[in-house]
Amino acid sequence: MPLKTADRASAAPLHIVKGRGSSLSALNAAVGVVLAITLIPFIYIAFRAFEKPLPEILDLLLRAKTLQVLATTTALLLIVVAVNIFIGTLMAAGLHFIRLPKAHLFILPTILPLAIPSYVFTYTWLALIPSLSGLFAAAFILILTTMPYMLLAILVSLRRIDSSLIEVARTLGLSRFKIFIRVILPQIRSSISAGALLSGLYVLSDFGAVSLLNVETLTVSIQNMFKASYDRSAASVISILLILASVVFIAFNERLKDSDNKENISKRLMAKNIRINNPGLKTSLLFSVALYTTLAVVLPIYVLISRFIGNPNPIDFAQLFETAVSTISVAALGAFIALLMSAPLGLLLSTRAGKYSRLAERIILVGHALPGVIIGLGLVSLGSKLGPLYQSTLLLAFAYALLFLAKAVASMTSALQLVPSTLKEVAATLGKSKSKVTTSVVFPIALPSIGLGTLLVFLTAMKELPATLMLRPTGMDTLATQIWSYASINRFNDAAPYALLLVLIAAIPTFLLSAPRNPSEKVEISQ
C-alpha cells in the first residue's frame, strides 16, 4: 500500500508536488509532538518499573499468580472478542440489510449501552442477581457493554459497501449465505477488526466490571498492587505485561484486517442500498435486537429508575445541574483536544502512511489498553511539577484526550480515507488552491465521520472515573465521580439520579451516532 501511494505521488500534477516537502515535514513534526505526549504514560511506567532490581521484576512477571492473571485476562479477552465478532457481525448485517420501517430507530437502542459506564452496568446487574460473579459473568457484562463498538464500526462500513458486487453475485445465482461470506464479509473485514480492537482494548483496560465480579485481570492486579502495598513499581511491572498483551492483541487483530480495498471508495459513495424483506429473518432480527436491548438497556435503566423512585432523600437539583454542566464542558474540551491531536496523524495515515506513522498509530492504540489509574498517575507525576496547571480543567481534559486518542485517530483516519485521492487531484488540476481543496472537497466528505469520532471521545470521557478522581480540579464533581461517591457508601438510591442523567445526556450523541447519514436510494428485494 505505501508503495502505491508513493507511485501516485510521483504522478501527481506539478503544483501539488510543489511545497509538499515543507507541509509534509510540518505534518511529521506535529505527529512527533503528539507522539511525545502519548509516550508520557509509557515513560512513567518504565521509570517506575525499573526502580526495582531486574531479578525482582522477573520474579514478579514469572510467578504463578501473574501467569494465572494473564491467563484469566486472555480468556476474558478471547471470549468477549469472539462473541462480539460473531453476534456483532450478524446483528449489524441484519440491521443493515433487513428492511424495517424507520430502521435507525432499531439501531438506536443497540448503540445506547455506550451511554452506560461498565461499573453502573455491573451495579445494576448485581442488584438483579446478587450472586453474579466470575469469568463468565464478567464476559457477559463486557459483551453487553462493548457490543456497540462492534455494531457502530460494522454499520458504518456496511453503508459504504459496493452493492453492485452483490447484484452481480445474485445474478450469478449465489445463495444469500454465500453472498454474505464471499461478497459482503471481505468488504467489512477491516471494520470488524476495528470493532474487535476497540472492544478488546476496552476489556484490557476495564476495572469497574471485573473488580465487582471478582475476576482478577491485569488491570485489577495493577489496582490491587496499590491497595496491597502502595507499590507503584510492582504496579508498573504488571503494566508492562499489560502493554505486551495489548501489543500481541493488536498484532493478531491486524491479521484479521486483510489488505483493504480503498480503490472502491468512489464507487461506494454512489452505491445503492439493498434491503431484504424476509419475514423469518425479520423476526429473528427483531428478537435479537429486543433481547440485547432488554439485557443491555431496559433492565439497567429499570433498576436505576426503581432506585430513583425508591430514594427517600431529597434530590439536590442545583448540584445535579452544576455537576452535569461541568461534566459536559470538560468532556467536550477533552474531545476537542483529541480532535486536534488526531488530525496530523489522521492526515498522515490517510495520505501517505509510512512506517513512522503506522508506528505512531500502534503506540496510541497500545496506550488505549492502559488502565485509567496508570495514565492518571503518570500525569500526576508530571503534572504536579507544573504548578497552577496541575489539577486544572485543562489538564483533566488533556488526560481525556490522551486516554481516548485511539478512538479519535481511528475515525479521523477512516474519514480521511473516504476522500478519494483522485477527487483531490482533479480539484487541484482545476486550479484550486490547497486550502480550497481541503475546504471544498476534503471537509464535506470527511466531516461527518470525524464528528462521530469526536462524539465517541466525548461519550467515553463523560464516563471516565479513575483519572478524573486524580486530576479533576479540587472540589469539582463530574457525574461519574458523584455516582462513585454515593455508591462507595451504598447509597445507590442517591447515585441513581446522577446515573440516569449521565445516560440521558450520553443518549444524545448516541442518537447522532446511530442516525442514518447517507439517505441514498434504496432498492428493495422481496422474496
Binding site: 513534526a29 499468580k65 465480579l213 502502595y230 504536579s384 478522581l469 462507595s488 447509597r491
Partner: protein
C-alpha cells in the same frame, strides 16, 4: 520511498526531542518558583479526603465557619489518594490527608511525607491510636463485628473459630476484597501465625462461606435473609438502614473479649511535610479530635470516638468494653502477605 520514510522519521524524532526538552524546561522553571513564604496569613487549606463526602463534609463546613479558613476538599479512595500523594512528593498541593484506614496513613508516613505532630495536637486521643512517631493520629474508631439476622440466627458465635462449625454452613458472608476484612486477616496472621490463619480460611471455605464484593452487600444480604451472619465493620447496619430509609433485619454482635474478630481499626489524619500551613492544619486536627466533634461522630456517622470517656454509638458497648485484641495498628499497613494468603486459599 525508502528515502521518504527516513525523512519522516527524522522530522518526527526532532519533534519528540524538542517537545521533551520543552517539557523539561517548563518543569524546572515552575519548580524553582514554587517556594512561598510562611508568614502570610492562611486563608485556604487543601484536604485530600479518603473519607466520603456525605459523612465528613458537615464537619469540614463547621470548621470553615469557625476558623474563617476556606477548605478545598478533594475526595477519593484512601489508597488511591495515598498513591497520588506518594507520586506528588514534595509538590503535593495537599496540606492534610484524611484516610479511612491506618494502612494508607502508614504508607505516606513511611515515605516520610508527613510532618511529626507536636505533643499538644490531638491531646485527648490515647497513644495506642497515634503513630509511634506522631506522624498521624487516629480520629474515629471502627470495630469489626459480626452482623446477623436476629430472626434466623439463634446461636451466636463467641469466637471466629466457631464460624467454621456446621451450624454456620452456607450462612456466613465475607468480603475478601474489602480493606477492613484484609486488615483483620493481617491481624490474625500477626497474632496467631500464618498456618493458623490459612487453616481457618480454608475451613471457612469448606463451610461454604458466601463471598460478597463489599461490606454493604453483606448487610443487605442478611436483611434479605440470603445469609444469616457476616463479618463487617460495625457502622454498616446503620449505613444500610439509612440508605434504604427503613429499619433492617440486621444487628451487630461482638465475639468474646480479646477475640481477633473484635479488632478496632481507625480512620485518621496526618499533615503533609510539604505544607506551609502547619498551624492551620493542626488546628483542624484538634477540631476533629475535640470532645464535642468526637461526640458528633458518634451520633452522626455511628463511629466510635477514640476518647476513652466518650459515649459509644447507640446500642453498642463502650470502646473499652468491646474487648478488642491488642494489635499495633502500624502492622496493618502490610497486607501483601494477607493478599497472597487469600489468593492461596482461593478467596481472592
Amino acid at each position: 520511498m525508502h528515502l521518504q520514510i527516513k525523512k519522516q522519521g527524522r522530522a518526527g524524532l526532532i519533534a519528540i526531542v524538542t517537545a521533551l526538552v520543552a517539557g523539561l524546561a517548563a518543569t524546572t522553571l515552575t519548580s524553582c518558583s514554587s517556594s512561598s513564604d510562611q508568614a502570610s496569613e492562611v486563608t485556604e487549606l487543601t484536604i485530600y479526603s479518603g473519607r466520603s463526602e456525605e459523612f465528613i463534609a458537615p464537619f469540614f463546613a463547621q470548621w470553615e465557619a469557625e476558623s474563617g479558613i476556606k477548605l478545598n476538599i478533594r475526595y477519593g479512595d484512601s489508597a488511591e489518594l495515598a498513591a497520588q500523594i506518594l507520586e506528588e512528593g514534595s509538590n503535593s498541593p495537599a496540606d492534610l490527608f484524611l484516610s479511612q484506614d491506618a494502612g494508607s496513613l502508614g504508607a505516606v508516613a513511611m515515605a516520610e511525607l508527613f510532618t511529626s505532630l507536636p505533643e499538644g495536637v490531638a491531646s485527648d486521643i490515647p497513644a495506642e491510636y497515634i503513630d509511634s512517631d506522631r506522624r498521624w493520629v487516629g480520629i474515629t474508631g471502627r470495630a469489626r463485628v459480626f452482623a446477623y439476622n436476629p430472626n434466623s440466627l439463634k446461636v451466636l458465635p463467641t469466637s471466629i473459630t466457631d464460624l467454621t462449625q456446621s451450624v454456620y454452613k452456607g450462612k456466613l458472608g465475607i468480603a475478601p476484597t474489602n480493606a477492613s476484612f484484609q486488615a483483620f486477616v493481617t491481624a490474625l496472621i500477626e497474632n496467631k501465625g500464618e498456618t493458623f490463619a490459612q487453616k481457618w480460611l480454608e475451613d471457612l471455605k469448606a463451610n461454604d462461606v458466601k463471598i460478597y464484593p463489599k461490606n454493604g452487600a453483606i448487610v443487605e444480604a442478611i436483611d434479605k435473609n440470603e445469609i444469616s451472619i457476616g463479618l463487617v465493620n460495625h457502622y454498616y447496619t446503620w449505613e444500610i438502614s439509612e440508605a434504604l430509609g427503613r429499619p433492617i433485619n440486621a444487628k451487630n454482635g461482638f465475639f468474646a473479649p480479646g477475640d481477633l474478630g473484635n479488632l478496632i481499626n481507625v480512620s485518621g489524619a496526618g499533615v503533609l511535610a510539604s505544607s506551609k500551613k502547619y498551624a492551620a492544619s493542626q488546628d483542624l486536627i484538634n477540631f476533629l479530635t475535640s470532645t464535642s466533634t468526637q461526640a458528633e461522630f458518634v451520633t452522626k456517622t455511628h463511629e466510635y470516638s477514640l476518647i476513652s470517656s466518650a459515649a459509644a454509638p447507640e446500642d453498642l458497648p463502650q470502646l473499652l468494653e468491646i474487648g478488642a485484641p491488642s494489635i499495633d495498628l502500624d502492622v496493618l499497613k502490610n497486607i501483601k502477605a494477607t493478599q497472597d494468603l487469600l489468593v492461596k486459599v482461593g478467596l481472592l
